[in-house]
């Protein structure tokens, strides 16, 4: 069936209004879109790592989740989910539960790339029948915009402060999606909010309805950390894709598939210029830093093309 945004948008919300996330934040867009992909007749248990999302969506005694939800800590959401999933298998085996349950875990880049990385890797390697969704906003936003291993090079964060002696984060972003593909799990994909959410919706559905472990990395910008106007989020995501900073691709049982190839690959400035966190790069003496970023984006893009064309 052809993709129809209206049809998707008409599905009942499973992540509902009333949460305390900021205007222009990517995280709730990710939650709503991913959960729309759960078939209405199916149930889900959501596991959440400690994050902005966690503190802002389940502030006792309120909850924005219509499905069962569990949060235990920051670094262990995948392990927690694997316990829930094992319980489900135990009950299924004994005929004590009816209906279909889906297990979906959400973590930010802190809870995924960094502190929760071991737990994620373990749960994926064990073949847990779950989807891990990283809402990647490229820094520890909950504690106030500190760098993570997902923060891109030269971004200004509160622990990579820009000043006469420092140009922002000195290291490149970790390529987590690729690392997850190296786990040889059945489904890995990278996406963000473009094409009327078609890419995100279809990948979420594929991830949720793939038997076994699946990993979805969703660039989910943060207006406070990236310093943009709330209304600009869609344009930023589009620029990330058009500049090939954040390519859309999926790895289905080892097969690399590029989902979108820009007709004209825009220079990386187009993406960087929209965000206050890169403001310091736009001075004559820092032109070489942008060139360096461009070089890295190009190299990673070529590498991806090679994997997808194999």
């Amino acid at each position: 069936m052809a993709y129809n945004l209206k049809e998707w948008s008409d599905r009942p919300e499973r992540f509902v209004a009333g949460h305390r996330m900021c205007a222009g934040c990517g995280s709730p867009i990710t939650m709503r879109a991913v959960l729309r992909a759960v078939h209405p007749e199916d149930h889900a248990v959501v596991t959440c790592a400690t994050s902005c999302l966690e503190v802002a969506s389940v502030t006792y005694p309120y909850s924005s989740w219509t499905d069962s939800y569990i949060h235990t800590a920051f670094e262990n959401s995948a392990a927690t989910c694997s316990g829930v999933e094992a319980a489900y298998r135990a009950l299924k085996k004994k005929g004590k539960i009816e209906g279909e349950y889906k297990f979906i875990t959400f973590g930010g880049d802190g809870g995924t790339y960094d502190i929760g990385f071991q737990s994620l890797s373990g749960a994926m390697e064990r073949g847990t029948d779950m989807v891990y969704v990283c809402y990647d906003n490229e820094a520890y936003m909950n504690t106030g915009i500190q760098r993570s291993s997902s923060t891109p090079k030269y971004a200004d964060t509160t622990t990579t402060a820009v000043g006469p002696e420092n140009d922002g984060k000195q290291q490149y972003k970790k390529d987590l999606t690729k690392i997850m593909a190296a786990h040889h799990i059945p489904y890995v994909a990278q996406t963000t909010f473009i094409t009327n959410l078609r890419d995100l919706h279809t990948k979420a559905e594929r991830a949720i309805y793939t038997k076994g472990p699946a990993f979805l990395n969703v660039m989910s910008p943060c207006p406070r950390g990236w310093r943009y106007e709330a209304s600009q989020i869609g344009e930023i995501c589009k620029a990330a894709v058009e500049t090939c900073v954040w390519p859309l691709f999926e790895v289905i049982r080892g097969e690399w598939i590029l989902n979108y190839r820009p007709g004209y690959k825009q220079p990386v400035e187009e993406y960087l210029r929209m965000q206050g966190r890169f403001k310091h790069l736009f001075t004559p003496e820092n032109e070489h830093l942008i060139a360096e970023i461009q070089e890295d984006v190009d190299a990673r893009w070529e590498e991806l093309l090679e994997l997808c064309e194999k």
Partner: protein
């Protein structure tokens, strides 16, 4: 029909797990508890255990997976020691605050550093304030029996708290002893089924576990935990009484050994009690009025009952297999002196730190302690806190 067998502590605990047959077991190997997940794996391979066995990549994940499973409405168990236990520390608080009655087999081993694989109580004592019920075992039989009682206590509607069953690493976990195993049906009947009212996998009533507990609610949640812990004492006594009627093996909050007319008393936890009882017998034969109290339940702490058991003593040794580094002794020392103060019982007491990192505790160690207690009873000043069995030079 129960049967006699020769088993190590780890084997005994693994057999209890097999008989309980929990829905989910998540574990990561660490000396000296490694054998427990090994037995679980072989029981599963032989079709003797139906549990889902999650072979996690760390102890932090084993307790996290157990939390997830328990929140999903099933029985979840794990086992660990020492560094693995310490890695769980953060999660122990989460599990108790979420009121998830996870049962964990702890094989006590010293914490690093320096790294050491032998027994003391620094691991479980280090998390004594995490909101878990703590049962300690003197030998393999007690470890087995405590495991059989664990779920009945933890899952009791008045309690709903996680529970750890502790035994001494190597001394108990690897020492082979004659023990009595109850038959599988008896165990199943005693332990019963677990059906929590609320859980994640109820399609009619989805729930949220682990919300952000803001200041207007956090303190009430903690109060709920502490009230449950207060109620746990009576539940432990009730379940232990029922277990005694079933098996003939009786347990209280603590065991009093030759304490009726005792003037000199030793209070200790775990396997050392066996050695201490031998020393008491020898001293009794010489006419010394020696006695011993072995604490089984450290959390909840049975302060009033323990103080009353120690009331008639002329001198008391409180034995800690860990140091709190408070410059005042160990955790048992602090708790017991507080209990005595609270109940107005005045007994001259020395807090001995002993047996750290597997340092041998022998009958002679207890004889030395009783000799010191004798002097204190005769009016010599009592040193509040000291090490014993340590090289002074």
């Amino acid at each position: 029909m129960s049967k006699k067998d020769r088993l190590s502590g780890n084997e005994a605990v693994a057999n209890a797990i097999r008989q309980i047959d929990p829905d989910v077991i998540a574990a990561f190997p660490i000396t000296p508890s490694t054998e427990i997940p090994q037995y679980v794996s072989s029981f599963k391979a032989q079709g003797k255990l139906t549990s889902e066995f999650i072979t996690v990549e760390s102890e932090h994940s084993s307790i996290s997976a157990a939390a997830g499973a328990e929140a999903a409405g099933v029985r979840a168990m794990t086992a660990t020691s020492s560094a693995g236990f310490a890695l769980m520390h953060e999660m122990l608080y989460v599990v108790s605050s979420d009121r998830l009655p996870v049962v964990m087999a702890v094989v006590n081993r010293a914490l690093s550093g320096p790294i050491n694989i032998n027994n003391d109580h620094s691991d479980s004592m280090g998390s004594r304030d995490a909101g878990w019920i703590q049962l300690y075992s003197e030998n393999a039989q007690e470890a087995y029996d405590n495991m059989l009682m664990a779920h009945r206590i933890a899952e009791h509607p008045d309690v709903m708290l996680p529970l750890m069953v502790c035994q001494d690493g190597f001394i108990t976990s690897h020492g082979v002893e004659n023990i009595v195993l109850e038959d599988d049906e008896t165990v199943k009947g005693f332990v019963g089924e677990y059906r929590p009212d609320e859980h994640l996998l109820d399609p009619e009533r989805p729930i949220g576990v682990g919300p952000y507990g803001v200041s207007p609610y956090y303190m009430e949640m903690k109060r709920g935990q502490t009230e449950a812990m207060c109620r746990a004492e009576a539940v432990i006594e009730e379940v232990s009484r029922e277990f005694g009627e079933l098996t003939g093996r009786e347990y209280g909050l603590f065991e009093e050994y030759r304490m009726d007319d005792a003037e000199l008393g030793v209070l200790c936890i775990g396997s050392s009690a066996g050695t201490g009882k031998d020393a008491v017998d020898m001293l009794r034969a010489r006419g010394v009025k020696a006695g011993l109290v072995k604490l089984r339940v450290f959390r909840p702490f049975p302060a009033a009952k323990l103080a009353s058991a120690l009331k008639g003593l002329k001198a008391l040794a409180i034995m800690d297999k860990t140091d709190s580094f408070s410059a005042q002794g160990g955790p048992l020392g602090a708790e017991v002196r507080s209990a005595l103060y609270q109940t107005g019982v005045i007994v001259p007491a020395v807090n001995y730190v002993y047996g750290l990192g597997g340092r041998d505790v022998r009958v002679e160690t207890f004889e030395e302690i009783f000799a010191e207690l004798e002097k204190i009873a005769d009016g010599a000043p009592a040193e509040a806190f000291r090490y014993i069995g340590v090289r002074e030079r």
